[in-house]
Each structure stands twice: as structure tokens, then as C-alpha cells.
């Protein structure tokens, strides 16, 4: 049997395999603790980036790590463990965060449209057809706007994190880019609907 001391040299993938092979075995607990301990920092940092506050990040990180622990048996070893952990962490954050609107600015009051007839933009968003939205974005936005809007709406990344990630030097940061992108999309939809006779 390996001691917990000896796990420090064992690659992630081998530790995961050790747990997956015999989850109730004598080594599983120590191997899992070592493995998930290695990912505590990166998981916490990612969650902090996504939610912005330390307590929220801590809760979310523990949720992600616990999810990983529960499902170590489903790690197939076909890819690097770090990529598997990333997917779990990312998914955990996506679950916890509200998805921003594709077309309404982040500052807009989400209830401001209440009582309106659902417009074509709302109908489009409610359909939640990622392929259609992707086609729309590609047609009407330049690459930089595409990235900012996709990061905001589908990766659910906070605006300041997008500013950093895309290295936007502009004073308004990603906010300005997102506003411009959403304006373009709204106009494109209006034009399309006018062309369809309002249908």
C-alpha cells in the first residue's frame, strides 16, 4: 500500500485511476484527498473569477471538488485529468450563475419588458437554439465582438473578467464592446423582422 507521502509524486491520471478502480479500497481516500487537494487552488481561483466574491467562490469550489470526488469513477483516462477537472468546475459555475441576455445590456432591468409582447429577440432567446444564435453572431458581429458576447452569454463570464481576458485597453472595457455588439444584433433582428413583414 502506498502512504499518502508517496502520492505526491504520482501523476493526476494515475491517482484518479487508483480511486476509480477501487473506490472503497484502503488507498482510495488518501489518493482522492491528494488529487483533489492539488486542484483546490485552481478551482477556487476559477470560481473567484466567475463569481467575484470569496465566500461564494469557496462554496462553489467545494461544490466542484465534491462533484469531482463523487464522479471520479466516471473519469475514463482518455484525456488529461486537468481538462476533466476544468469541465466540472466550469459546469458548476455555469449552473450557479444566471445566464445573461444575448440582446439586453447587462445594466438593463430584467423586468423592464414585463407586460410587453415577447419580441422576436426574446422569442429567439427563449428558443435557446445555440446553433441559431451562433450563426446570428457570426453574421453580424466582428470577431472581437463575437468573442466578448459569447464569453458573456455562453461562458457566463463577468464583464471585468472579459476585459482582462481579451486584453481590452479601452476605458469602457468589455462593457462598451458588449453594448455595441448587442446593439448590432438588435438592429439586425429588427431589419430581418421588417423584411419578413413583421412576422
Amino acid at each position: 500500500m502506498m502512504t499518502s507521502q508517496s502520492y505526491t509524486e504520482v501523476p493526476d491520471e494515475a491517482l484518479a485511476a487508483l480511486v476509480a478502480q477501487d473506490p472503497d479500497g484502503p488507498e482510495a481516500g488518501s489518493a482522492a484527498a491528494e488529487l483533489l487537494g492539488r486542484y483546490s487552488k485552481i478551482t477556487y481561483r476559477w470560481c473567484l473569477r466567475m463569481v467575484g466574491d470569496r465566500e461564494g467562490a469557496l462554496d462553489l469550489a467545494q461544490e466542484a471538488l465534491l462533484n469531482a470526488y463523487r464522479h471520479l469513477g466516471s473519469y475514463r483516462g482518455t484525456g488529461r485529468f486537468v481538462s476533466w477537472m476544468y469541465v466540472i468546475t466550469r459546469n458548476c459555475c455555469l449552473c450557479a450563475l444566471r445566464r445573461p441576455s444575448l440582446l439586453r445590456d447587462d445594466e438593463a432591468d430584467p423586468d423592464e419588458r414585463a407586460g410587453d409582447h415577447p419580441g422576436p429577440d426574446q422569442a429567439l432567446e427563449e428558443k435557446d437554439d445555440e446553433e441559431a444564435l451562433l450563426a446570428l453572431i457570426r453574421t453580424h458581429l466582428d470577431p472581437r465582438e463575437q468573442e466578448a458576447l459569447w464569453l458573456r452569454c455562453f461562458e457566463q463570464m463577468p464583464v471585468d473578467a472579459i476585459t482582462r481576458l481579451l486584453r481590452i485597453d479601452d476605458a469602457s472595457g468589455a462593457r462598451g464592446l458588449l453594448q455595441g455588439a448587442r446593439r448590432k444584433l438588435r438592429r439586425a433582428l429588427e431589419r430581418r423582422d421588417a423584411g419578413n413583414g413583421g412576422k
Partner: protein, 248 residues
């Protein structure tokens, strides 16, 4: 475009070795893959970044809680205010059993459960031939992935699905893509939660149950229930709430 979207293994390969000309051609036109690559690279670079304020305290608490979860020991460093939302496998099992039993008890209060059995057999035969999944190009998905139901949240939030009857008596099921899922299947249960039939796994997010299947399933006095299951590498990673099949 989605046919050539990079899966998680592809993203990892590009992150390590850089894109091939073919990858690059796709990245140039696909904001989804570009942003996923950007965010994944950002994630990989996190350990190199300077330590955020308060991280060491957070790490102590996190590791303590993790250790407590794995080894089943009380966590002192987690502190009285700590919210370790996980539960032990035993507790999880008990909770699941309790939920299942209360659901069954509720159903048993509906009369005539025994009379369902013949309909179940008939329905299974009818369904086996009728379930249809329309194939579309697979969306970008991740490998070996899960987004499990976070503790304390209802399954309903995991895969959001709804059923709708059509005028011709068919029932259409639609659901949202679930991050990490490679395929979906629809499973039909009898009122006592016995699985009757399941559709072949497919990538589409809609499913049409033909009117004759619906008619066969609806013969029982209690009705049938359907659930959409999200799959990764053949394993169920999430599911919708179990919904009653609309009866005519």
C-alpha cells in the same frame, strides 16, 4: 460548423501543442471554439497568477472540508459557519430512497395501479418500434464530463424539459442542451417507476412520441412518466424531472 467543433480533448490538444492548420481554419470562423479555447487557456494559467487576497485562509478551509468529506471526519477548520453542502454517500442513498419512496407512495394513492401492468407490456412493445430520435450534427461537447445536480437543487433544474401534445395526438418533448452531455435519451417509466422503455441515445434536443405510442402508453389508469437523461461517454450524468406523459 458544429461538425468540426473541438471537443474537450481537442481543446486540450490545441492548448498544449497549438492548432493544426485545420484547427486554425475552424477557430477563425467559430466564436464558440475560440472562446472555449481562450477560457481553457486562462484556466490552465491560473496557478501561475499572483495569489488573490485571502487565498491561503480559503485554501485551509477548503482542504479541511474536502478531507472531512473524503475521510468522513468532522472538520474543525471549516468553522461553525462553514457550509459543506456535500453529503455522505450513505446520506445521499437514504435521501434518494426517501424521495423515491415518497413519490411511489403518492402514486399509490392513485387508484388502479395493478391494472396498469397489461398496458405496460403493450406499451413496451409499441414504444420499442416507435421511438424516434432525429439526428442532427453533434454540438461541441466535452469528454468525460458531468454537471451533477448540486446538492440542494432539484433535478428539474438539471435538464429542463417539457412535453407538449400536438393536435394529431403525438407528444413532443423538448429540452435544453446540457453542458457536458454528448447524447440524450428519453426513458419511459410506469407509475411505480419501473423502466418500460428507452429511446436510442441521440444528439437532438427534441423527441417525438408518435400518437400510436402515446395511445398505447395512455391505456393504464394512472399514466406513464417520461424523463430526459443526459449522457456522457454512455453514462447518465443528469436528468430532467420525471414528467407525466400528457393524456388525452
Amino acid at each position: 460548423m458544429s461538425e468540426t467543433c473541438l471537443d474537450m480533448g481537442g481543446l486540450d490538444r490545441v492548448a498544449i501543442s497549438g492548432p493544426t492548420p485545420q484547427d486554425q481554419a475552424h477557430l477563425d470562423v467559430c466564436p464558440r471554439c475560440r472562446t472555449r479555447l481562450l477560457t481553457y487557456r486562462e484556466y490552465l494559467a491560473l496557478p501561475e497568477e499572483s495569489e488573490p487576497e485571502g487565498e491561503s485562509v480559503a485554501m485551509d478551509r477548503l482542504r479541511e472540508r474536502l478531507k472531512a468529506e473524503i475521510h468522513g471526519t468532522p472538520s474543525s477548520a471549516a468553522g461553525p459557519g462553514a457550509k459543506w453542502r456535500g453529503v455522505s454517500p450513505e446520506d445521499r442513498g437514504a435521501a434518494a430512497r426517501s424521495a423515491r419512496e415518497s413519490w411511489r407512495d403518492g402514486l399509490r394513492r392513485l387508484r388502479g395501479l395493478r391494472g396498469l401492468r397489461p398496458a405496460v407490456g403493450l406499451a413496451a412493445i409499441a414504444l420499442a418500434g416507435i421511438l424516434l430520435i432525429r439526428e442532427r450534427p453533434a454540438p461541441v461537447e466535452d469528454h468525460g464530463v458531468l454537471r451533477d445536480r448540486p446538492a440542494g437543487r432539484p433535478t428539474a433544474e438539471v435538464v429542463i424539459a417539457r412535453t407538449q401534445s400536438t393536435p394529431d395526438g403525438a407528444v413532443a418533448l423538448t429540452w435544453r442542451r446540457f453542458p457536458g452531455a454528448e447524447m440524450y435519451r428519453v426513458v419511459v417509466f410506469s407509475a411505480d417507476l419501473a423502466e418500460i422503455s428507452r429511446s436510442p441515445a441521440g444528439t437532438d434536443t427534441t423527441f417525438v412520441l408518435d400518437s400510436s405510442a402515446v395511445a398505447a402508453l395512455a391505456q393504464g389508469p394512472v399514466g406513464m412518466f417520461v424523463e430526459v437523461q443526459a449522457l456522457a461517454q454512455g453514462d447518465r450524468i443528469a436528468a430532467s424531472r420525471t414528467m407525466a406523459l400528457p393524456r388525452r
